[in-house]
Amino acid sequence: MISRRKVIKSAAAAFAATPLLSMPFVARAQTAGRVVIVGGGFGGATAAKYIKRRNPDIAVTLVEASPRFYTCPFSNLYLGGLRDFDSIGHSFDELTDTYGVELITEWAEGVDGDAHTLTLASGETLGYDKLLLSPGIDMRWDGIEGYDEAAAELAPHAWKAGPQTELLRSQLEAMDDGGLFILSAPADPFRCPPGPYERVSLIANYFKESKPSSKILILDSKDAFSKQGLFQAGWQELYGDMIEWVSLSNDGRVIRVDAENLEVETEFGEIHRADVLNVIPPQKAGFIAEAAGVTNEGGWVPINPETFESQQVSDIYVVGDATIAAPMPKSGFSANAQGKVAASAIVAALTGEEAPAPSWANTCYSLIGPEYGISVAGVYRVENGEIISVEGSGGVSPAEADAEFRAAEARYAVGWYDAITQDIWGSQPA
């Protein structure tokens, strides 16, 4: 008898060695169940791969609107001019060619939980035994007065990697030296808690090199943010007084946006005018979650933490930013870890076994400069039906650390991106 892992390995080796690889996987007998996954990002693509790794006989269909997935992680490096846009895009070739996942490049439009069907934009319906949604986020266009989809074409959010990210980069490139970049950061919960602060860091790095008289203003709807002490010390060290952070209690909350004039108004009536304006609005679970009836009144998805199955609709699993999984953050790392746990739970359910006890970790690296990295880590378990952070574990990088330590974390940040994009999409380092 050999271990499960070895079974999978030799199966993969057999395929690699024979013409079977080129045969469509649907030709195989797939009687172990049918899983449909919506969303090819950090949660969904991971789940697709890990379901197939655990049980290749389960039919897996991935529904994703884009032929390539662009990652929010490392999009800040692109904004700072440290990477090209193509390097943060990933294809689904490994999933389809190596793992036999069926890919449908289309929007999912509706879910009928009772009938166990998913409807596509084309009108086609897919039946499922288990549905896994990894819908990411949508912007709350009613969250800030004046900030709607049209306004985002003038003052981008760039909080989903894609055309918005490219728009913001082109605006930064076009800005004159001496200009003011304003970023409006949302209240919790939102996608990628350290993201806005890494973004201003890498834009500061770009300004320092190309437009050194420029300034950055962060208007925040929070009084505290992720890795705050480390970010602020790093800003001081690398960029002097280029970056100013205005907290909630110092009137940092933006309540109105005039995108035509690149002006924002804060709670107590201050008007700030930007040369480049980046508004990151409040968010909610991606629309397919709401269409499936799995969101709560707050717009996010309550899940059963052992399996990430919806609390509201059975046989629908939801992972990633859309879920209420705090204290796990809304991060790509979390989505990947959740995708694996949901994959184990789905495979167990389809084969009539008990789901293994879950375990997750999260690591968020942030770059303050190209050679200045910081991190926060956490290890998570389920206790009394709730996700908890394992006591004594996790935490942020030390406040007192030398340049070598920061440089090592910057290298590991890149190493992390290379590893996780390989783990999910089979990508090779750029």
């Binding site: 209240a187 919790d188 919960p189 929070k222 009084d223 505290a224 907290s247 909630l248 209690s249 110092n250 009137d251 709670e267 107590f268 009536g269 709560n296 009144e297 707050g298 209420i324 705090a326 204290p327």
Partner: protein, 221 residues
């Protein structure tokens, strides 16, 4: 409970706007309004807010001395752990309304160092008056609102230091009064509503437990 004084509260009419889940228990936004048909001369006299699982459960009380009150508020509170926030509203008729809303807190707020305030500008106030029917008064005072329950890096208790009261007067008439306790977030933030019956000057006075005060005045129509 002394506030109830033997009365049975009616579970009706208290509308709470609270997040289902809070990732920072040090700053939890709380909105309160009272939505209930009132008798001719009936009005809300006081609103009391409690966090039963906090070390000091009484968060705040808000009083409306006259019938021209608009019982609608926004503030920010500290929740030490997951719990329901309980709000009582006392009506001039003697009736008491009650409402509650459960908040799940994932990171304990009260005893961490995540409160931020600017030590150089303690007592600096911000006020935004937006005329209308009713007139909105948005206020914030820069203050640590120290609970006396937390320690500094050396392990010493940081002494209690609280903004305990905010009073609003138009002319000499008290139109709104807030008693603030330890579970009000740092930099006490409060939006309330007034209905002046004639143009006058709105005077706001915040009082610290040391007796020190901060003041603000603005003409209102």
């Amino acid at each position: 409970m002394a506030i109830l004084d033997g009365r049975d509260p009616i579970a009706q009419g208290v509308v709470l706007d609270l997040p289902l889940i809070s990732e920072n228990g040090a700053v939890v936004p709380l909105g309160i309004s009272i939505d209930r048909p009132m008798a001719e001369d009936e009005y809300v006299q006081a609103i009391h807010v409690f966090a039963p699982a906090n070390p000091f459960p009484h968060i705040a009380s808000f009083r409306y001395p006259n019938a021209r009150s608009t019982p609608r508020l926004e503030t920010r509170v500290r929740l030490n752990e997951s719990q329901p926030v309980v709000v009582l509203a006392e009506l001039s008729s003697g009736a008491v309304l009650v409402g509650e809303s459960e908040v799940r807190v994932t990171v304990s707020g009260c005893l961490t160092m995540s409160d931020t305030y600017d030590t150089e500008s303690v007592f600096q106030t911000r006020v935004r008056v937006e005329p209308g029917a009713p007139t909105s008064v948005l206020t914030l005072i820069n203050h640590p609102q120290e609970t006396g329950l937390r320690t500094n890096a050396q392990g010493e208790i940081i002494p209690k230091r609280l903004i305990e009261k905010l009073e609003a007067r138009i002319g000499d008439e008290l139109v709104f009064e807030a008693d603030l306790h330890r579970s009000i977030s740092a930099n006490p933030y409060l939006r309330f509503y007034i209905q002046p019956d004639a143009p006058g000057t709105l005077d706001l006075v915040w009082t610290e437990d040391t007796g020190e005060t901060a003041e603000f005045s603005q003409d209102v129509a």
